[in-house]
Amino acid sequence: MNWLNAIIQGVLVGGLYAMYATGLSVSFGVMRLVNLAHGDLAVGSAFIASTFCLATGLSPFLAIFVVLPLSALVGIGLQVAVFNRVVGVDPSYQIVATFGLSIAIQNVLLQQYAANPRALNIGDFGNRSLKLVGDDVVIGLFPLSRFVVAVLVLVLLSLFIGRTRIGRAFRATSDDPDIARLMGVNIRVIYAVAFAIAVTTVALAGIFNGMQTQFSAADGPALLIYAFESVIIGGLGSLWGTLCGGIILGIAQTIGAEIDPGWKQLIGHLVFLIVLLVRPMGIFGKDELR
């Protein structure tokens, strides 16, 4: 029964990974931008939420309502100040710029909060769980609600992109930014909205992560890698693929951890590499990567 349990935990954590991945997917989809500071933005948001809770004594759930608008503003600010200058140029400058940003954010966090891990305390809610199949399968109430929220975010986002006027402009910009501009689409606004979405979703994921596990300043890169693996496993350009990618990665990791705690990440990476070798366009991907 441990295996069933591992799989269920994997699915639940996969929802979190999908939420990390959403922003990466959106910013790549709309502006072909790969942001290496993506994970650091998640960790940064968790630290800000933690500071807010310590200062006010309020629940981390309330912190979400403060941090998310803030992160949307940060996203717009970063887009205007940094990313607009690297969209459409040689990708090596994109990588260097966002890599530099990543190093800077990590070390600002390290300086501000030292190397000690922190956590967001959600009290009793974090311990409650549902027991199924006798007492063998334990589903934490918080991971379950987190998964539901993740799916909800994806539903809203896919409705936004699929059905709304700005969502259509997103897709048009992704297809051909020059012509989108000619059609009257102000692509700077589109980019700013896209990046605001990217930062907001990853910030929410970062806070959700901090409500269950400890986090520290150096965690960003690992989160970026999980997000990236979810995107590639699921296939570029498909939000639902990303959810499946996250779930597959989550299951691989929990099963790996079940075999040997040292193998948690390794098995996850190996599954990613196998998908890359066997099906480089990802499981739900439409377009080949090369």
Partner: protein
């Protein structure tokens, strides 16, 4: 009444200058043709009117106001729409969604989805098809329809006939009078001179980024056009 006036325009891409001292005039409701060989600067001229090419020197006056410093979407809002070379429809969007993007500027006018489908019946039954699944002629029709959705006062048509079967080109050109009937002015850019000249009141021929010949199509002889087109046998 002059709708568009291009005065001594020089333009290009970065270090490369493609247009040299071009002047051109277009009256409201008129249709003019810009012809010339491959690389003569025809597309660059249209793109600089639409605002996607850097103007080095010169003026572009639209409806009495200079638009040289306006962004492409601002020019669209004033009524300039481009049907780009190679069609460049949004491949992952459906036909219907492509038209919606065309109407993104929300400019008011006679054109709407229904009228576009009426004028281009071939699109009417494909509304939910992804644009990359269309044939070349359908894609061209969609590109024109998409531009019309912004209710332009000036429609810039770049190489509409390129890569299409003659019968489809003929069909598309038959539709153009209906577009003009709505009060929209046209500039055709074509390598295929006959088609463009027969549909316009005035023509400019470009050679190496300069106007090498202009006049009413009826007044231009074949020899004149040939020499202006290829730059041979004539002394400037």
């Amino acid at each position: 009444m002059s709708l568009l006036e291009v005065r001594n325009l020089s333009a290009g891409y970065g270090q490369f200058q493609a247009l040299f001292d071009i002047s051109l005039n277009l009256n409201e409701g008129a249709a003019i043709a810009v012809i010339g060989a491959n690389g003569a600067g025809k597309s660059t001229l249209l793109k600089s009117i639409a605002g996607v090419v850097d103007v080095i020197f010169g003026e572009i006056i639209f409806d009495g106001e200079s638009i040289v410093n306006l962004q492409p979407h601002e020019r669209l809002n004033r009524g300039i729409a481009l049907v780009p070379e190679g069609r460049r429809i949004f491949r992952s969007l459906t036909v219907d969604e492509n038209l919606s993007i065309g109407a993104y500027s929300r400019r008011q006018g006679v054109w709407n989805r229904d009228l576009v489908y009426e004028v281009f019946p071939m699109l009417a039954k494909l509304t939910d098809r992804r644009a990359d699944k269309l044939s070349g002629g359908e894609q061209q029709a969609l590109a024109i329809g998409r531009a019309l959705m912004s209710n332009p006062r000036l429609l810039l048509l770049d190489e509409v006939s390129l890569g299409l079967a003659p019968i489809i080109v003929k069909k598309l050109y038959e539709i153009l009078p209906r577009i003009r009937a709505t009060g929209c002015s046209l500039i055709y850019v074509e390598q295929d001179t006959n088609q463009a000249l027969s549909a316009s009141e005035y023509a400019y021929c470009l050679l190496e980024g300069q106007v090498s010949l202009e006049g009413k199509p009826a007044d231009l002889s074949r020899e004149q056009i040939a020499s202006a087109y290829f730059g041979i046998g004539v002394n400037k």
